[in-house]
Amino acid sequence: MSKPSDLVQGTLDLLILKILALQPLNGWSISQRLRQISSDTLQVSDGSLYPALHKLEHEGWITAEWKQSENNRRAKFYSLSRLGRKQLQKEAANWNRLSAAISHVVQLEEL
């Protein structure tokens, strides 16, 4: 599975889970939200979002449901499951630990 090159491995999953923790969204809205909240820093190609979503769905972390979208079209909405919430906490904690460590290392170098 090809990953978006400018994203750290595994972070796309974390981002998706975080976004879905706020509210259930469809694929299009997720991609829009990603762009918004990262102020265009994180670029995910439209196509590569979906394999990631499907993977999360098969892991049981998110569930999918067909619903009416805001423009009255049928769309597949993803929402976080109970398992997904746990996973989010775990991954967020991991991320914090990791990023803290990395930025510490980076600052060390500058001294």
Partner: protein
């Protein structure tokens, strides 16, 4: 990728398998929605719809690849592909229904028959013997009389328990004159068997006491079911055996059907040995009264026992040797001197070496052979199809399919075939089982029938075979078909190169089929020829004589009454219309129950006083030789008036005359017949008999026996309660059986009249196994030949098609059609010759194993080998000739096909 939370995602997974189309639709819809939203956004930004669509697609970064990634996430791609392949396979097979049906039927027969054979083998050989803790059980082949047994049992050093049974089966009439068979056993028999009784108990030690013990019996599970309707209160009821009423004390364990030695014999009841004289009415005869207590009674008991814990077989043997020696010392002559007693662990069952194994092996060889040939033929056909589909496969490979993927698809085609065949084979299997269960092997008094069930192991075996065949006939063609280079196969010329390599493989198949065919046919031929030779041979008497057996159990040993019955019935039977003549005899020809022999000495003794000769004998009524059409060479037949004459008389056969009175006439000479007295363990003094006639030699026991001296006594001299009526009839023998039986029963209602068969059928039944084997081998051999012929036809036909252009050019250059046809046939016959040569040598090597069953016929019988060679060659020639004719088609047509 292994899902961690499989339970939560299970519905999702099920959906992607079973609602695949819906999943696909939703996948497409999801991407489409995204695309549309992006397009809208772009249009809103001022692009034209066309531009917008292009930008949106570019942003997708390869939509189809991403869709494929989504499908991969499901992790079930191989299942989809497999199902797809299966669907494809079924479509392909449906396109050539003829081939498919033949292939499936061949496979189903092969798998089904093999599974059935495995079941038979399991029932005969693998099924555990009906004993608890079998590893501690040993048997001691016949070796005891009753008092000796009691002495040995009293020694408790090696055996924790030692039981015996009487070697001869016990036969007695039950209620409604039904014959019941069983065993006379020691009281501890059921303890040694070591399995829980179905109901009640085994025998008690006090029921073994000789006098005054209560008459008791244990009935078999089968008799309990069939005769007592599985009555739970059967214990305490009575069992009638020859006028004696016995109390049923128990129902035997259901696993115990017969003895350990006879896998399929069913007994009806067991009684303690001391019951014997009362049931058989032996107690009225002084000679037998004390037989059970007699140490001179020979060795009539078979024993088996449980070794004490820790005692080895060697220790047991050593101890037995000591005990035997002691007995020998205390009672000389009461036991044979055995320095090495023959103790055999029961688990090494001796019937492994018996006839059942012979049949099972023959059957297995034949069916495995058929299955093998079937697989080879299907492989062959698939190879041929593979080359026909060369271009299709090459195209697939060129379009990017991996070799593994194409092989998988071709394997799926094979799998589809064997899956259908496997289902069908279950039907074949249960049908074969039914046939085999219905087939009862006659065994002396009882019937051996196999307890065959549809068992799980056989089912697993069938599936195993099914998969194996799939690999056998599927894998090789699949690999071969995908091996070729792309360019070669796409271009037409490549065809010839591939064809050549494949043809070698197919030639090998035909040769090996020929070998198998020849081996099977030779086996069938030799056995068949042996059977035919002996069945058609002249045994020296009239084979159309009808035999009816009679049993007079209620008479006990009242000789006068018995003689009256024999005389009266004979007189009346001779008056029935359609009866030419009739006579009594003890042993009918080709009877398998054993023979009487007498110790005799010719007078005047040209030999030492102690030289006794054991000569086979029969007891016959006057008229026997006339009925059997055995010519009297010298002297005369017995006459009823002779019975008043106290002097003994005998008739002897030629061989006996030549052996004891060479060069002189034996009529009028005397012979001495030893009269044993079992009570005293010494002779009463020999009896003198005068030779009154000499008759021609006949074959009595088997049609292959040599010249054996034989003595006939008049039936008033020696007879039994069981005699056989020999009737020479002028009408259809089958229609005479009932009148004869009725007539005997009207003379005395107590007589049990059994059977009724013509001697020739008895003769044929001697060969029932060999005939069955010959049939199985013959049928499978013919099948193999047909299959091999089809294979040969296929090869020649294929090669003719491949070389159409070559033949066309050669004929255009002046070759004659006949020559080309001859050349093509020659190529085919080379394979046949090779197969024949190897097959015949294999047969010659293998036939040693049946040599012991051929009774003098050479296992290298030239007639059989020659006949089979000619037969195989002519069939093969036909198979090669038919397609070869096409080689000589019009050369212009041949060239134009290119």
């Amino acid at each position: 990728m292994r899902p961690k939370h499989w339970f939560h995602t299970l519905p999702l997974r099920m959906r992607s398998i079973f609602l695949r189309r819906q999943a696909e639709r939703e996948l497409a819809e999801e991407f489409e929605y995204h695309l549309e939203m992006r397009i809208r956004e772009c249009i809103a930004g001022g692009m034209t719809p066309e531009e917008a669509r292009l930008v949106a697609l570019r942003a997708m970064d390869g939509m189809e690849q991403h869709k494929e990634e989504c499908r991969d996430v499901r992790g079930l791609r191989w299942i989809h592909e497999f199902l797809q392949d299966l669907r494809h396979a079924f479509r392909i097979w449906a396109k050539s229904p003829g081939f498919t049906i033949v292939a499936v039927l061949m496979l189903a027969l092969g798998i089904g028959a093999n599974t059935a054979v495995i079941s038979v083998y399991e029932a005969l050989v693998l099924r555990p013997l009906p004993f608890g803790q079998i590893d501690r059980l040993v048997e001691i082949p016949p070796g005891f009389n009753y008092p000796n047994y009691l002495d040995i049992r009293a020694d408790d050093q090696v055996f924790s328990d030692l039981a015996v049974w009487m070697v001869l089966p016990l036969q007695a009439r039950g209620a409604n004159s039904k014959m019941l068979s069983g065993r006379a056993v020691s009281s501890n028999y059921f303890q040694v068997v070591g399995l829980p009784m179905t109901l009640g108990r085994g025998f008690l030690t006090e029921e073994e006491k000789l006098s005054g013990s209560r008459p008791v019996a244990v009935i078999s599970n089968r008799l309990w079911k069939n005769g007592y309707g599985s009555d739970p209160l059967v214990v305490g009821k009575t069992l009638k055996l020859n006028d004696e009423l016995l109390t049923i004390v128990g129902v035997a364990p259901k696993e115990l059907r017969g003895d350990l030695g006879l896998g399929g014999v069913y007994w009806d009841m067991w009684v303690p040995i001391p019951m014997l004289p009362r049931i058989l009415h032996l107690d009225r005869e002084p000679m037998w009264r004390d037989a059970i207590e007699n140490r001179a009674m020979g060795e009539w008991l078979w024993s088996f026992g449980r070794l004490r814990p820790g005692v080895t077989l060697g220790q047991a043997r050593a101890r037995m040797a000591v005990l035997f020696a002691n007995l020998q010392k205390s009672y000389p002559g009461s036991i044979k001197d055995r320095s090495k007693p023959n103790l055999v662990p029961v688990s090494q069952a001796r019937w492994l070496q018996g006839n059942s194994l012979f049949s099972a092996v023959i059957l297995a060889a034949a069916t495995l052979g058929i299955l093998f040939i079937t697989c080879m033929n299907i492989a062959n056909l698939l190879l041929a199809r593979g080359s026909a589909r060369q271009r299709e496969i090459a195209t697939r490979l060129a379009l990017g399919a991996s070799r593994a993927r194409v092989v998988r698809q071709l394997l799926a085609e094979g799998f589809a075939l064997s899956a259908v065949a496997l289902l069908l084979s279950l039907a074949v299997y249960s049908l074969t089982l039914q046939l085999m269960s219905a087939f009862e092997i006659p065994f002396n008094f009882s019937q051996i029938n196999l307890d065959l069930g549809f068992d799980r192991r056989a089912l697993i075996f069938a599936m195993g075979i099914g998969l194996l065949t799939n690999v056998m006939f599927g894998l090789a063609p699949a690999l071969a078909a995908t091996r070729t280079g792309l360019s070669g196969a796409l271009k037409d010329q490549g065809f010839l190169v591939i064809g050549f390599r494949k043809a070698r493989c197919r030639r090998l198949l035909v040769v090996s089929q020929m070998i198998l065919t020849v081996v099977l046919l030779v086996g069938a031929g030799i056995l068949g020829r042996m059977v035919w030779r002996f069945v058609s041979a002249d045994p020296g008497f009239d084979k159309n004589v009808l035999i009816v057996s009679s049993d007079l159990p209620t008479y006990g040993i009242d000789k006068a009454k018995q003689m009256r019955f024999y005389r009266q019935s004979l007189e009346r039977i001779r008056r029935i219309s359609g009866v030419r003549s009739a006579a009594w005899g003890i042993t009918p020809p080709f009877d398998q129950r054993g023979y009487f022999a007498e110790n005799v000495q010719p007078e005047p003794a040209a030999y030492g006083k102690e030289d006794w000769f054991s000569i086979q004998s029969n007891s016959v009524s006057p008229g026997y030789f006339q009925t059997m059409r055995i010519p009297i060479l010298q002297g005369r037949d017995f006459d009823d008036r002779d019975s008043q004459n106290p002097a003994g008389m005998v008739i002897i056969n030629e061989t006996m005359a030549r052996r004891f009175w060479p060069g002189t006439t034996p009529v009028g000479k005397q012979i001495r017949v030893k009269k044993p007295d079992p009570r005293e363990n010494r002779d009463q003094g020999p009896e003198l008999c005068e030779v009154i006639g000499v008759v021609k030699d006949v074959k009595y026991e088997t049609p292959w026996e040599g010249k054996i001296p034989y003595i006939y006594f008049p039936y008033w001299h020696k007879f039994f309660t069981q005699m056989s009526l020999h009737v020479s009839v002028t009408e259809n023998p089958d229609s005479m059986i009932v009148p004869i039986r009725k007539l005997c029963e009207s003379v005395d209602s107590g007589a049990v009249i059994n059977g009724g068969f013509v001697i020739s059928t008895q003769l044929e039944s001697l060969f029932s196994k060999e005939r069955a084997a010959a049939c199985v081998l013959g049928i499978s051999g013919l099948l193999a030949l047909i299959l091999a012929a089809i294979g040969l036809y296929g090869i020649i036909s294929y090669s003719v098609t491949q070389r159409t252009r070559e033949f066309g050019i050669r004929m255009a250059l002046g070759a004659r059609g006949g020559e080309i046809v001859r050349q093509v046939i020659c190529e085919g016959m080379k394979m046949v010759a090779l197969g024949l040569a190897i097959g015949l040598s294999c047969s010659a090597a293998l036939s040693r194993f049946v040599a012991s069953r051929l009774h003098g016929l050479s296992p290298l019988d030239p007639t059989t080998y020659a006949a089979i060679t000619i037969f195989v060659i002519s069939i093969a020639f036909l198979a090669a000739f038919l397609p070869a004719r096409r080689a000589a088609a019009n050369p212009m047509d041949a060239l134009r096909t290119e």
